[in-house]
Every structure is written in C-alpha cells, then in structure tokens.
C-alpha cells in the first residue's frame, strides 16, 4: 500500500489538498512574475541592429535605444520612461531568442 500511495502527489484547489497525479502541462507551467518595466525584453526572436546608447547614458521617454529585426521588419525598442541605461545586454548583429533581456534601465 505504501508504494501505491507514493505515486500520487498533493495538489491544492481552493483550501483543500487532493491526492492525484500532476500532468505535464501543469508541471511545466511557469509561475507568474510581475513584469518589471525597467527590464526590456525581446518580444519576438530576431537580430539586434543600431544600438544608439551606452551603459550609463541618459534616455528620454520615446528615445530609440535599438532595433530588433524580425520577420523582415525593423522593430523599434524605445525607452518607456525618462531614465538611465543601467546595462545593455546585447551586441549589434546578435541573434536573440524571445524574452531575451536586452536592456536594463534605472
């Protein structure tokens, strides 16, 4: 009986804990994190072009920091607010995957 019990896992719904199996979809899910507006990520996989700023430089809201070329389109990566470039994590010509961190602002 003890071995049989072990094949189940605990799973909470509401305030109750059930014994059951957890499927792949549920196991692979990523926990939600509050997006940080200071971190700019690639919203699509692509290639980095024309980086216009260096670490430590000031940016104004709307400034074009770099381009992300994907699907034959040059997507503009803009500063979302006035601030300072804390660190640029990519180089020109670099291919990045989706959600890759491009720039950290402060």
């Amino acid at each position: 009986m003890a071995t049989k019990r072990n094949k189940y896992e605990s799973f909470q719904v509401g305030d109750t804990v059930y014994r059951t199996t957890i499927n792949k979809m549920q196991k692979n899910r990523k926990p939600y994190t509050v997006p940080d507006a200071r971190n700019l990520h690639a919203f699509i996989p692509g290639t980095i072009l024309d980086i216009a700023f260096k670490d430590g430089e000031q940016v104004k809201e709307g400034d074009i920091i770099m381009y992300l070329e994907a699907m034959k389109m040059k997507n503009i990566i803009k500063a979302p607010f006035d601030g300072e470039i804390k660190k640029i994590y990519v180089k020109e010509g670099e291919t990045v995957s989706k959600n890759h961190l491009l720039v950290e602002l402060k």
């Binding site: 799973f11 059951t20 499927n23 899910r29």
Partner: protein, 514 residues
C-alpha cells in the same frame, strides 16, 4: 476490335494506373514504415468491399512542362466500400505520385467523393499523405483546398468525417482534418503543422525537428488536434473500425445496437471507489463497472487527462461518457478539458448519442496562466454545449460537485433529464475548509485556539452540507441511489428517454463561445 482486345486494353491501363508513382517511389514509401494508398484502403475496409472510381483522372497542370508528365490518378485514390458492413466513402492521397501534392483534379476527385458521401448520407474517411499544394498549379491548388474545407463544414454534424494522418499534412492542408470529427495519428509517420521547421528557423531563428514540432505524440498529448494515437498503421485501422461500431452512419440514424451484456464482475465500484473526497481513483474503472461487457472506448486519452471522454454501451446502445478524472489534477476543469468535453458533447448531440456525465471535481484550475489563456471563454463552451444538447442527458454525481463545476457538469439547471447522486456526493458552493473559513471567519479569528475552532467548524459544515441531501431537498437531485443500483437506474432512465423531444427557440444558429 473484339471485346477481348478492348478488355485487355482496359486491364493494361488499370495496371499502369495502380502502379502509382512507380516501384522506386513505392519502395521508398514502404521503407518509411508506410503502406501505399491502395493497401491502406484495402486493409481498412471489409474484405473485397472496395470499389475505386476516377482511376483514369489526369492532372490539369499546363505550366512548367507539367503537361508532359503523367501522374497516376493525379495522386489520390477514391472510392466506396464497407467497414463492419456499414457503407462508407473514402479517399487516400498517394504520396508516391508527385508527393501526394494537391492539384486541381486531385482536389476535384476528393470533393466528388465527399459530395457522394453527403448525397448517400454515409461517413467519409480521408487518408492524408501529401507534401501540400502542387506549386506548379498555383491558385488552382488553393481553390482545391477551399472547396474541401467548405464541404467539410457543410458535412459537419450530418455525416461522420474521419481524418487519418499517415504522412505529412502541412500548411493549409491541416485545416481539413481540423474541421472533421476525429483525427487519427500514427507514431513516426504523422506530421502536422502550419509552418514547418525550415520557415520557423529562417524567420524566427528557432530550431526544432519536424517530429517535435508536429509529430503524432505532439498532437495527441499537447495540442489536442488528434483524437487517437497508434504505434503503427494496422493498430490505427483497428481503432477506426472500433470507432465505427459506436457511431451512426448519419445524423438521422442511431448507432447500430449491439447485443446487451452485463459488466464484468471484476469491475466492482466498492473495490475501486474511495469515499474520502480527497483520494484519487481511476474513473474509467467506474465507467467499466457500469458499461456493457465493461467496454469503454476512450477518445483523446493522452490530452487533458483531467477529463475522460469516450463511448460505452448500455443495453447495447451507444452512450457518450463525460467524466471528471480524479486521477489527474484531481479532476479540475481547465481550458483544455473544457474544450475537450464541449466538442464531444456537441458531437454526441449531433449524432443522437445520449450523454452520461459523471461528476467528481473540486472546481476550476486556479492560476494566472489559466485566466490569461481565457478559461472564462473556454469554460463557457461546456455550459453552452450541455445547455444546447437535446439528446437524453443523465448525470451521476459520485463525490465532489463544488461551485461552478457543479453547474457546468450537466446539472439539472442545464436541463439534465435525470440527476442521480451517490450517498458520497457533496454538492456545495465550495469545499468544506474554504466554506468554513469564510462563513466562520469571525469565530475562528476571535477564538483562543483558531486551528481547533476551524477544525470544528469544518466538521460542522461537512456534516450539514457536504452531502447530497441539501440539493435533494430542493429537487436538484432526482434520486440519491446506492452505487450498486446505478446501472439499473441508468438503463431505466435511457429506456424512458427514447422519445425525448425538446423545442428549441427559433434561430438560425447560436453563437457559441468558440
């Protein structure tokens, strides 16, 4: 010329045509573990029942020197025959002929046999094995796909439509299977995707193999596009034959009845069913304890396992079963399980198959991903499908039926004809712990020993509400029954529902939350 010479010329022409793309192409097909198009049809259909049409159709391409090429039957085999003695129309794309590519006449052959199926009101089976559109035929091949999709849609809910993916099925071609009722895939052979690995790589830089992108397991486990997965083609054909034993030829008929058989004695409810609501069990054991000969033909077994759907027989008649599966995620409803159940309910309703719903769920799956994937819109499909279904609807509540899950799982409010509950049923707005925490929040907070008071209050709530009798007192449950009496009640409920008719409001069609 004599009849004999004419006949021998016919035979010669036929011999040439059935060669398909020639021996080399056939050898290649076989080396991939695949049968040829005609072999597949002959294997699937009853012995000597296949009659082929349009064998001498030739392709219509003029450009790019295509007019100098001969493509046997234009790469698709069509005809009629029987499965288990039931008439069917069938087509099979022949990969050995120009990669089974779809040109104008190829599509015309398919739409012609589909039109046949609709006229004769018999099922249509499509065996897909094609590289895609025949580029040389340009817009004519696109037109061909469009004509097929239109017919798939018109035939939907009128005749059963089966898609068997026995090779590549890529680009626009995938939408024909997606519009049909059931999709069969075979390990290592089926490949389905809209854009292939090469396009994905060149545009997005993402690398993935064909198998990992759209192989059989992917569609059976992850996307839910496939309903049946098999190790090889022969096993797949066995599944198709079994499916056809459960469904009627068309929407004006009922499935052929089988001789009735009692469930096997090894499936006993008392042996497999834990009464404690937090303990797991395999709901398929309960289904087999109720069904004729303990048979259960499961659909989409590998996808959204938290709900179980499939066919069984009661008194020889086909019944569609929808059951929460406590074995997986405690049987919660979520985006995928709602989609899975809702579509199956609509299938059963379209083809006059009564529904048995078995309820044991803690509610909906909590999580940001679920909410952001639109669990509201997807969950609504279940409510819509159950409310709309006018076939006999029987509901059996075995244990938990909490909150929105209780309503969604064919409650009497969605016009179930009969709702039965076992004495272990708990029909409540939520689980006892959650309910006690809310109702007795003050008492618990103010107590010297909150945990002790909480435990007391949970027990108090359980004793009062975690049972079927509160719902029964309002008439929301028709009968609280002993588990061992279940089959008797189900048989009677079905028997007495034979002439059920529902008058629907006058409308063209509803707007389900697709």
């Amino acid at each position: 010329m004599s009849l004999r010479t004419k006949t021998s010329e016919l035979r010669k022409r036929m011999r040439e045509a059935v060669q398909g793309g020639g021996q080399k192409a056939i050898d290649k097909q076989v080396s991939m573990g695949k049968m040829t198009a005609r072999e597949r049809i002959i294997e699937l259909l009853d012995d000597k029942s296949f009659y082929e049409y349009d064998l001498f159709v030739e392709h219509a391409a003029k450009d790019f020197d295509m007019d100098k090429k001969y493509l046997a039957g234009d790469g698709v085999v069509t005809g009629t025959g029987t499965i288990n003695g039931y008439p069917i129309c069938i087509y099979a794309q022949d990969f050995t002929v120009a990669g089974g590519s779809l040109g104008y006449m190829h599509a015309r052959k398919i739409t012609k046999i589909m039109d046949h199926a609709m006229k004769l009101k018999v099922p249509i089976i499509g065996i897909n094995d094609s590289g895609g559109a025949r580029i040389q035929e340009g817009v004519n091949s696109l037109a061909g796909y469009g004509e097929i999709f239109y017919r798939n849609t018109m035939a939907s809910g009128v005749i059963p439509q089966i898609s068997v993916i026995l090779g590549p099925c890529a680009g626009g071609a995938v939408y024909s299977p997606a519009l049909t009722d059931f999709v069969f895939v075979v390990e290592g052979i089926s490949k389905m995707f809209i854009t292939g690995p090469e396009v994905i790589k060149s545009v997005l830089g993402e690398e993935i193999t064909m198998e990992a992108l759209g192989g059989a397991k992917v569609h059976a486990e992850t996307t839910g596009n496939a309903h049946f997965w098999a190790e090889n083609e022969l096993e797949c054909f066995g599944q198709i034959k079994e499916l056809f034993s459960y469904v009627p030829w068309n929407n004006k008929k009922v499935a052929e009845p089988f001789p009735t058989k009692p469930p096997k004695s090894k499936y006993k409810i008392s042996k497999v069913f834990p009464s404690e609501a937090t303990e797991p069990y395999d709901v398929r054991d309960i289904i087999r304890s109720l069904s004729d000969d303990s048979e259960f033909f499961e659909i989409q077994e590998l996808w959204a396992g938290n709900i179980t759907i499939g066919f069984m027989r009661l008194n020889g008649e086909t019944i569609g079963v929808v059951a929460n599966q406590p074995l997986v995620l405690a049987g919660v409803l979520d985006v995928d399980s709602s989609d899975k159940a809702a579509r199956f309910i609509r299938y059963c309703d379209a083809f006059n198959i009564p529904l048995l719903t078995m309820v044991d769920l803690p509610g909906y799956l909590p999580g940001v991903d679920q909410e952001h994937s639109g669990v509201i819109r997807h969950g609504a499909k279940l409510l819509y499908a159950y409310s709309e279904a006018s076939v006999p609807k029987i509901t059996l509540i075995t244990r938990k039926a909490y909150g929105g899950g209780y309503i969604a799982m064919c409650s009497s409010h969605l016009k179930a004809d009969f709702v039965f509950a076992w004495p272990t049923a708990e029909i409540a707005v939520m689980g006892p712990t959650g309910a006690a925490n809310i109702i007795f929040r003050k008492e618990i907070a103010q107590a010297d020993d909150p945990d002790k008071v909480r435990a007391e209050k949970v027990e108090e709530y359980k004793a009062k509400f975690a049972n079927p009798y509160v719902a029964a007192a309002y008439g929301y449950i028709d009968a609280v029954i002993e588990p061992k009496e279940t089959r008797r009640y189900l048989l009677h409920a079905l028997d007495i529902s034979k002439s059920k008719s529902v008058i629907m409001p006058d409308k063209k069609h509803g707007i389900p939350p697709f």
